[in-house]
Symmetry: C3
Subunit: 354 residues, 3 copies
Amino acid sequence: MSKISTKINLGNFFEDFQIGQKIVHPLPRTISDGDVSFYIALTGSRFALNSSDLLAQKMGYPKKPLDDLLMFHLTFGKSVQDISLNAIANLGYAEVSFPNPVFVGDTVRLVTEVIGLKENSNGKSGVVYVHSIGYNQDEKEVLNLKRWVMVHKRNKGDMNGINDVPTFAKVQRISSQINIPTLSNIDIDATGGKYFFEDYEEGERLNHAEGITIDNSDHTLATKLYQNNAKVHFDDFMMKSSPMGQRLMYGGHVISIARSISFNGLQNAQWIYSINSGAHSNPTYAGDTIYAFTEVIETINHEREDLGLLRLRTVALKNCRPEDVDTTFDENGKYKKEVVLDLDYTVVIPEKQK
Amino acid sequence: MSKISTKINLGNFFEDFQIGQKIVHPLPRTISDGDVSFYIALTGSRFALNSSDLLAQKMGYPKKPLDDLLMFHLTFGKSVQDISLNAIANLGYAEVSFPNPVFVGDTVRLVTEVIGLKENSNGKSGVVYVHSIGYNQDEKEVLNLKRWVMVHKRNKGDMNGINDVPTFAKVQRISSQINIPTLSNIDIDATGGKYFFEDYEEGERLNHAEGITIDNSDHTLATKLYQNNAKVHFDDFMMKSSPMGQRLMYGGHVISIARSISFNGLQNAQWIYSINSGAHSNPTYAGDTIYAFTEVIETINHEREDLGLLRLRTVALKNCRPEDVDTTFDENGKYKKEVVLDLDYTVVIPEKQK
Amino acid sequence: MSKISTKINLGNFFEDFQIGQKIVHPLPRTISDGDVSFYIALTGSRFALNSSDLLAQKMGYPKKPLDDLLMFHLTFGKSVQDISLNAIANLGYAEVSFPNPVFVGDTVRLVTEVIGLKENSNGKSGVVYVHSIGYNQDEKEVLNLKRWVMVHKRNKGDMNGINDVPTFAKVQRISSQINIPTLSNIDIDATGGKYFFEDYEEGERLNHAEGITIDNSDHTLATKLYQNNAKVHFDDFMMKSSPMGQRLMYGGHVISIARSISFNGLQNAQWIYSINSGAHSNPTYAGDTIYAFTEVIETINHEREDLGLLRLRTVALKNCRPEDVDTTFDENGKYKKEVVLDLDYTVVIPEKQK
C-alpha cells in the first residue's frame, strides 16, 4: 500500500508570494561550447562576434562572448519552477539589461525579489511582479530584468485587496559606462554588414528577407536546454485538452528567431543593450514560419565616440511576410493575429570607422 | 559488372556467440561538453551536480561529472553492432553499476564477455547473456552491466540443446566503498530540493508532476549521438512494413526521460548507484507523452555517515498521468498498455546536514 | 510613417558577378566540441578517428581531427549568402580537396573567386562558376573547391553573349604529399573494420546495411548549425506555394548521411581525399529514409607504403534498399527517381599492417 508523497513541487500560487521576498533559484549552470553550438543550430544566428574567437579577440575580448539572448534563456529558465510554473500568462518584461559579457566556462545563477502584487478582480488569480538578477561566478551582474506574470490563486474567491503595482521605465536609461571594448577596426568582411550607426535613421523600416519554420523538436530542445520546465511547452497530452490543442512555443525562442532573422540589415548591431518591453501578442505553434521586420524608433548618440545605440522595434510575424503587413493592429486596436512578438529593445552598433 | 561485396557487417546471430567469448567493441569515445549540452537538451535534466562546475567543486569533484545515464548510453551504444543488431528484443538488465565518475575529456570504451546462451524451443532464436565493462582512459571501470537479448538464429530449426543460463543478483549489493566525495555542505538553494535521506520512507510514492512529449527528431538524435545503430530506431521505411508500423524509440531514451522527470521530488538523489533490473514493458513511439511515478522500495543505511541509499522503482507511463494509475498490472498479471518502463534502481542521497 | 530600408541583402544576381571577382565571405567560425557532438547526433557518424582523442593521438595527431564533411559544411555554408541565395540549382562540384586537417579550436573562413560565367539561352538566368578556398587561423588551406550554380538574372531578357566556361579535372590528381601521419598500428578493435587497402577491388559493390530516416528538425538544425541560410531549406510557408510543396533538404546533409551509412564496409577509410564530382539527382524531403551503396571505381597505389586510395562512387537512395537497385539510370538515361545523390570521391585507407 503506497502513501502519496508530498515532496513534489507543484509551484507557487499567488498566495505564496510576498513583497520583499527573495528567491534563490536552483541550478547554477556552467555554460559550455555545447550550449553555444546548440544556440546556433536552433536559431541560425549569424552575428560574427559570437561566432569567432579570433574576431572577438581583435575587438578586445578574451574570446567570443555569449549571444546575449542565449545567456538570457539559460539564466531566466531557472526562474520558471519558482515563479511561473502556475502562470496563466507571461504579461510583460521591462528594464532588461545585460551589464557584463558572459563567456563559455562561466557559471551563472539567478536571484529574484518580489516587487509587486495585484489581485485580479475575478478572485481566481493575481499578478506577481519580480526583479531578477543573474550573476556570474565572480558575483558580477550579467542580467538584470523585471517581469510580471499572472498566476493562479490556491484559494479561488478570496479577496484581500492586494494592489501594489510598481512602475517601470518605459525605456532603459543609457549609462555613460558601457562594458564593450573600444570598437576600432571593425572588419565588415567578417561581420557581413557595411552599415554603421550613422547609416540608420529614425522611422526606417527593415523588412528582413528570411523566414524560418519551427518544428516541435526545435522549440522543445531549446526549452529543455535552458532547463525551463514550463509544462505548456512540453506536454502535448495535457495541451491537447487545452483550448490551444497543442504545445505552445516558448516565447523566448520566438525572440531568438526574430533576432536571428534581423541579422540581415543589422549585421553590425551585435550587442543588445536592453530590452525595454516585449509582448508575446499571439501564440506560436510548431509548423509556423516566422518572419520579422524592424523599425528604428530612435538613434541615440553616446558620449563614447566609437559607438551609438539604436532603439528598435522588431515585430515577428507568423506565416505572413513583412511586406504584407503595414500596421500591426486591427481596427479595434488589437494585435493582428499574425503578429506574434512586439519587441522594443536597444542595441549597440559601432560608429563609422574614422 | 559489379560484384557484391561481403565486407558488410550484418551483425552476429545466435550461432556466432560462445560462452567465454570476449568482444572488444569498436569506437572509443572522447566525451565532450557538446555531449553534455545535448543530453540536457534531449532530456531537460536538472540535477545540479551535472550542471555546474562550481557546485561540483564545492562537493569535492574536480569539475562536474557526467550524468550517469549519459555515460551509460555513450558506452552501451557501442555494443549494439556486435550484440544486438539482430536482436528481436532486449530482455533485461541486471547488476548495472557505475563504479567511478566520468568527466568531459575522458575517453570511454566497452568490452563484453558472453556469460550465457539458451536456445529457444521454436528453433528460430536464442537468448544471449553478456557481461559488459566500460573503461576510461586509465583503465578504471566506469560501467559494469549484465544484460540479455533475444537474437535470431542464422539457421532456423537447428536445435543443439544449448541451455546455459547464468543467475543474477536481484539487487546490486551495496559496497562499503562508494566513490563519492564526502557530502557536507549540500546547498539546497542550488540543488532545488530540501529533502534528504531521512525524509524518505519505504512505501512512499512520488507522482512526478511533469510530462514530456518526445518527437521523432528527439529520440533519433539521441540514439545517433550515442552511436547506437539499431535499425528499429532509425529506419522508418523498414518499420512501416513491421507490425509496429513506425520507428521504435530507444528504450534508454525513455529511461533518461523518466529519470529527468523524477527530479521533482528527488532533487538531491544525484547519483545512480545501480540499476537492479529494468523492463521496457511496452513500446514508445514519437508523439507519446511520458509521465512517471516513483516508489521508495527500501531505505538503505550506509556505514558512511554523510549519505544513505534509496532503492527506487520508477515507472514511466505514456499518455497517462501517474495519479490515474494505481497498479501497473492488469487482471491477467500483464503490464497495462500505458506502462512503458519499470525500473528498479538504487540512488545515493545525502543525509541531513548535521 | 516608416520608410522602407534598402539595407537588406537580397543576394547577388547573375549580373552582379564578374570573372576574377574576389569575395571574402563573412562569419569566420571557431569550431567547437559542440559542433562535433552535433555532427554525430545529426548523422550517426561512427568513424573512429573523429570520435576518440586517444585513438587520434596513437595515430600521430595532436587530438581527433574534424570529420572532413563537417569542416566542409561549416566552411561552405558561409558562401551561400553571397553566391547562392538566389540560386535556382546547385549544378555541380569539382576538385574538392581537404589539404590540411582541422581541429576543435580552429577558426575557419572562406574566400571565393569567380572563374566562369555563362548566360542561359532563356535570358532569365545564368551559371556562375566559382573557386572557393577555406583557410584556418594560420592561413593554411583546409578546403579547396570549385562549384557552379544557376542563379537568376536581375533583368530577365537581357542577353550579352557571356559564355566563359572553365574546365575541371574529372578526378582530383593525387599528390605525392598527403597530410596524414604515418599509419602504423591501426587498431581494428577500435575502428571496427578489418579491411585494408589491399582487400578492395575495382568493381566491388558494397550494399550498405543501414537506412536513416531524416525529419524536418534534423536537416534544418544541421543547416542552421552551418549558418547556411538558403531559404529553400527553412521557409516552409514559402515552399508550400512552390512546386516542391515543402522544405527541400540541404544536399550536403544527404552527403553526410550517405557517408555515415557507408561506414559499414569502409570503416578504415577515415579520410576523404577529394570529392571529384557530385550530383544531387533528385530532391530529398523530411520523412525520406536514406540508404546507400558504394562502388569501388579504382584502387590507387600511392608512393607512401602505409596507405592507398580508393576512388569510390557512393549512391544515396530514398525509400529504396540498395539490393533493389541494379542501375541508377532509367531507359532514357535519366536518374531513377529514388536516386538522390551520385557522389564520386576518393578516400585514403591504410595498407595492411606489415
